[in-house]
């Protein structure tokens, strides 16, 4: 067993377990055993082949059980600091804040049918529903190590529940990571539970308070009832000493729509696992995203779409820009099961390498077992067009400006797909700031 997991195992054994429901205490123990037995994922795990754990092992974070909580004034000061990045949205209907893996703030309007509470409170109100989701998480084997860790430490989380036909409006979820004291790995759980016909727009923002190292491991459950609609924008702009592991399972009923757009502009080691299952027909899932990386950042987008029902459509559209010695991974998978006729699948990942040390591993996968399927997939890796650079320079723009303009245009293919033009503009500006500096060679 590797040293980091050994340290975590000891920490889990010595920690006093919360006295939650008995099934949860038992599950925590089982998850802890799984983690101890299998350790972290390595290159032999197909799904982790391109994402080594080196950065995490070097950071060597201790498990933070979050039992001590975070002083409210510390968290408030961090979010309100003038240097802390501005919120994506000025006046959301709701705002939730998580500081170092602890839910520190929940505020907002009082819309009918909308419940936003902590995990502790959520377990009181929706225990059977949450239990169903928690127990469905795969915690077996090294590939699921982060799910196991999250389950073993489960006590912090956010539950958003929207009743039938209710509209939660806009919800802003802000994450702040600090590295105070020694590096920790924080674990957090999110539930987005939308009943039939419910709607919400979620904007999630990951930022660092400082440059110190820390790690965050988030497991999310999304349940979309019949015709429910979730628009989900995620922007991650953390320091290069940060590890973010995020794993989301989406269950989609008939006619539901899940519109995800994820932008990774920072972070040290980042992985987004997004897995959606179409349990009913005529559902739609869109996964859009861009990663614009410099330094030695590593961002991995792992998406899997299970067309288990007919007449559903899915789209994956990702663009990557990699400078310096950064590394990107795109693994998009769509499975069309037998009988899932009239499915439509689109997959596209285009990448720009700005440096000879940068690297992208891209793997769009289609598995089709049904007839009458409309499917397209493609991946490209290229460099900026030198002719275009000269064209811009010949009009007076500097070489750096010309490159910035071309990279921005490359990413705009993603932001142009966002419905909310104001947010798209905001994200474009953030992409501009994240642009890797230009180096010869």
């Amino acid at each position: 067993m590797n040293a980091l997991v050994q340290q975590w195992s000891e920490s889990l054994r010595s920690a006093t377990q919360d006295h939650g429901p008995q099934w949860l205490d038992e599950l925590r123990l089982r998850a802890s055993d799984q983690l101890t037995a299998h350790g972290l994922p390595d290159r032999k795990d197909e799904d982790w082949k391109y994402t080594p754990m080196r950065v995490l092992e070097k950071l060597n974070p201790a498990i933070n059980n979050n039992t001590g909580g975070v002083a409210d004034d510390v968290a408030a000061a961090a979010f309100n600091d003038a240097n802390f990045p501005a919120a994506l949205l000025d006046k959301p209907d709701y705002e939730a804040r998580v500081y170092d893996g602890v839910l520190v703030g929940l505020e907002g309007s009082d819309r009918p049918g909308v419940t936003i509470v902590s995990l502790t409170e959520g377990l009181k109100r929706y225990e059977p529903l949450l239990r169903k989701h928690i127990e469905a998480v795969d915690i077996d084997g090294s590939a699921q190590a982060f799910n196991a860790l999250n389950t073993a430490t489960l006590n912090q989380g956010l539950v958003i529940h929207i009743d039938q036909q209710a509209d939660a409006g806009t919800i802003l979820l802000r994450w702040a990571m600090s590295g105070n004291a020694s590096p920790s790995i924080h674990n957090f759980r999110v539930f987005l539970l939308l009943a039939e016909g419910a709607r919400m727009q979620l904007m999630e923002q990951f930022e660092s308070v400082d440059h110190a190292g820390s790690a965050l491991n988030v497991v999310s459950h999304v349940e979309l009832g019949t015709d429910a609609v979730l628009d989900y924008l995620c922007v991650q702009n953390e320091s290069e000493n940060t590890v973010l592991m995020s794993s989301t399972r989406i269950d989609q009923a008939q006619g539901s729509r899940y519109n995800y757009a994820g932008f990774d502009l920072g972070g040290g080691l980042v992985r987004h696992e997004l897995k959606t299952v179409f349990a009913g027909s005529d559902a739609h899932a869109a996964f859009l995203g861009a990663f614009v990386l410099d330094k030695a950042r590593h961002v991995d987008n792992h998406i899997s779409i299970d067309h288990a029902s007919p007449a559903c459509s899915s789209e994956q559209f990702f663009r990557g820009v990699l400078g310096d010695s950064s590394r990107g991974v795109f693994n998009g998978k769509a499975l069309i099961r037998p009988g899932a006729d009239e499915s439509s699948v689109r997959q596209s990942n285009a990448n720009l390498l700005l440096s000879h040390l940068a690297r992208i591993d891209t793997k769009p996968e289609l598995e089709i077992y049904a007839d009458e399927v409309e499917a397209s997939h493609g991946a490209t890796v290229g460099q900026l067009d030198e002719t275009a650079i000269f064209y811009l320079r010949s009009r007076g723009l500097s070489e750096a400006e010309a490159r910035r303009l071309l990279v921005g245009a490359f990413c705009r293919a993603v932001t142009d797909k966002l419905d909310n033009q104001a947010l798209a503009g905001h994200v474009s500006d953030m992409i501009d700031h994240a642009m890797p500096s230009y180096h010869e060679n």
Partner: protein
């Protein structure tokens, strides 16, 4: 006569290679402000190379000679510095740049040039006013402003966009690299009209073309014949007509002797 005070562009004994291959082999050319010079010549003579060398394109290596622009050594400058000094190259094949809005691009370019010259930058309202005036003069629809740079443009639209950019950037030396290629007669006339509207006393133009037909619409002050990397003959507008009539082979057969032109060794 002091040449330096008269010539905007002075090219002396210019040798240039592309991919290790010698293309320009001792080219001499002087252009005064207010003049339009045409460069004609057969394919492979080095016409486009000349335009690219002046604009500073990578891959075009000057091995000998000098290029002075208003007395400044142009060859030491980056392409964007040359643009800011007042050089404009209308591309033979204008580049499509999806995702970069034409208006945004042009304003960034103009402001980069103004900044270089120590002039205040234009805000979007001032800029919009300027481009609307230019569009009106050139009879171009403002639909162009909303589109991405050259994306999905027809051949004629691309060339007109080059002329439009030139009108906005107001260079002191404009090089038109085979701007007539791929244009039908109506598009050619529109482009030529645009160029003629931009003629002025303090602006020079270098029109690079394979055929004489563009020169029916843009009357040059001087015509030069470029062959095998050198200017082999220079004359007035009638030289172009003669070339069109006789073909470039006529040059090689010594026919040029019969014209009142300046022959270069």
């Amino acid at each position: 006569m002091n040449e330096k005070s008269v010539n905007m562009l002075e090219i002396k004994n210019l040798h240039a290679t592309v991919g290790g291959k010698a293309i320009l082999k001792g080219l001499n050319l002087n252009i005064e402000a207010g003049q339009i010079h045409a460069i004609m010549g057969p394919n492979g003579a080095g016409k486009s190379t000349l335009g690219n060398v002046i604009a500073g394109r990578e891959g075009y290596e000057v091995t000998q000679g000098e290029v002075l622009f208003n007395g400044k050594n142009l060859l030491e400058l980056e392409p964007e510095e040359r643009a800011c000094e007042g050089i404009f190259l209308a591309f033979q094949y204008p580049v499509e740049i999806p995702g970069v809005n034409n208006t945004y691009f042009l304003r960034a370019a103009l402001n980069a040039q103004r900044k270089y010259r120590g002039e205040p930058e234009l805000d979007s309202m001032q800029f919009l006013k300027l481009v609307r005036e230019k569009l009106k003069i050139l009879h171009i629809s403002d639909d162009l402003l909303r589109r991405s740079v050259n994306e999905g443009f027809s051949g004629g639209e691309k060339k007109r966009n080059e002329i439009f950019q030139m009108a906005v950037l107001e260079p002191s030396l404009a090089i038109l690299d085979e701007t007539d290629s791929g244009l039908d007669i109506d598009a050619l006339r529109l482009v030529a009209d645009g160029v003629n509207r931009l003629r002025s006393e303090d602006r020079a133009m270098l029109v690079i073309t394979h055929y004489q037909r563009l020169l029916d619409h843009i009357l040059p002050d001087k015509v030069h014949v470029l062959a095998d990397g050198k200017i082999v003959a220079s004359g007035g507008a009638d030289l172009a007509l003669k070339l069109e009539e006789q073909g470039y082979t006529w040059l090689e057969q010594g026919g040029i002797q019969s014209l009142d032109v300046e022959l270069r060794a």
